[in-house]
Symmetry: C2
Subunit: 227 residues, 2 copies
DNA sequence: TGCTAAATCAAACGTTTGTTTTAATTAATT
DNA sequence: AATTAATTAAAACAAACGTTTGATTTAGCA
């Protein structure tokens, strides 16, 4: 009745040529990210996608299931994309000196911030995730296991290499979260932080400035650790 | 037709003795915090509060207006409560040495973390705010101006006293946000961070441990600043 | 007590919601 | 070309939604 039939093919910008299922997933990603699950109606989705209302239940069984499949689809899409990030994670394994690890952390933070704010797609992706954090759905477990945990582990490795005293320390995750939280906060609380900083948008210059601050702040904190 | 009539009196635990309007505000705070505006129905509110469905429109004009009044009410309630926090903010003005300022920052962080997680009321309060951040309503501006800005300013003053090089620096807000973000992240992303830390709840011990880490991490970062 | 305005109530309003049904159409298979 | 399966389309479904109505009760005041 649903699932595991065609799978969404390569997404072009020509929305008209996508399959009905792919159209729905594309539009659903946008709507769910912007307005959330409860505030998005199937009729809105169908109208925007240019498909019949019944298509949602035909292909996905229910609105809730469409939401879950949208999350799955979005996350595995982003896992495949952002090649620079995957590169960086690969390079982590080859790092030998604390200085190189520090440099990698700086790049990690800058890349993370750019991903969070630069492209529409990654911004939607992050927005879907922050909604999951507020109102967890059954998909959250999968997301944590497959998506967040690996990256948390990667950054933790970098930190442990930059500050060997933290390797095998139970406090290591605290340090990782301290860095990640600073980046994510500007995404979660974007309207407020912009007001506090007297800025009106997340310009590339502001992103760089923030990334540099977070890097400096965090690397200084790591120099003398508290175990 | 609405507003500015009785005002919510002292909230006792005896819900039966509250006025209809106060009952609605009390229940609305709980529901809006837990499920959000869109997923909360007027019928649920009325049933839980033990009042008639028409009471919402009678006293507040609309569901949206009830939401706005709930936010207003909740925030000004919390402004009056948490006396320790207000005390701390008062003491800030009397601080003279960087060492005393550092100590005050440690207390600020610990108090902030306790407020975020300890009592049900402040937890709801924080939850309402994080929902506002994701989906801003007309109330967000008021909240920022009246609640967030003063506290942001207070912590900024503390930081500037702990590290005089940051006084009058345009980077000061970055440092303030770095501290606040670490605290708030554990609230925004609670389910995920608990998983990452292999904890199953925010126990008082864990709160203390996290507060100490954030304090140490941040004070180390402030020692050598990047202007 | 009698009167008036505020407060509460049950009931129904017209929409919108997610979902289902049934028929028409397209694509695939023999 | 004929038949079957997959897809799309229009329409209707019951349930839930926010809101309104009009009658009834309660409370304050003359």
């Amino acid at each position: 009745m649903s699932a595991t039939k065609p799978l969404v093919k390569d997404e072009t910008d020509k929305v008209e040529e996508l399959s009905t299922k792919a159209k729905l997933l594309t539009v659903a990603e946008k709507f769910f990210a912007e307005k959330g699950l409860a505030s998005t109606s199937i009729r809105d989705l169908a109208r925007e996608a240019g498909v019949n209302i019944a298509a949602v239940n035909y292909y996905f069984g229910s609105k809730e299931n469409l939401y879950l499949e949208t999350l799955r689809n979005t996350f595995q899409k982003t896992a495949g994309s952002s090649p620079k990030f995957n590169e960086l994670l690969e390079q982590t394994k080859a790092i030998r000196t604390p200085e190189a690890a520090q440099q990698a952390i700086i790049e990690y933070i800058h890349l993370f911030m750019k991903i969070l704010f630069t492209s529409d797609e990654t911004r939607r992706h992050a927005r879907l995730m922050s909604r999951e954090m507020s109102d967890p759905s059954p998909a959250l477990n999968v997301i944590v296991q497959e998506f967040i945990l690996p990256k948390h582990k990667a950054l933790s490795d970098l930190i442990a290499q930059a500050q060997p005293a933290l390797a095998n320390s139970p406090s290591l995750s605290f340090y990782t979260l301290s860095i990640v939280s600073q980046c994510l906060h500007y995404h979660f609380a974007l309207p407020i932080t912009l007001k506090l900083l007297n800025e009106k948008e997340m310009s590339p210059e502001l992103i760089s400035k923030l990334a540099k601050h977070i890097s400096y702040f965090s690397l200084e904190a790591i120099k003398n650790v508290n175990l």
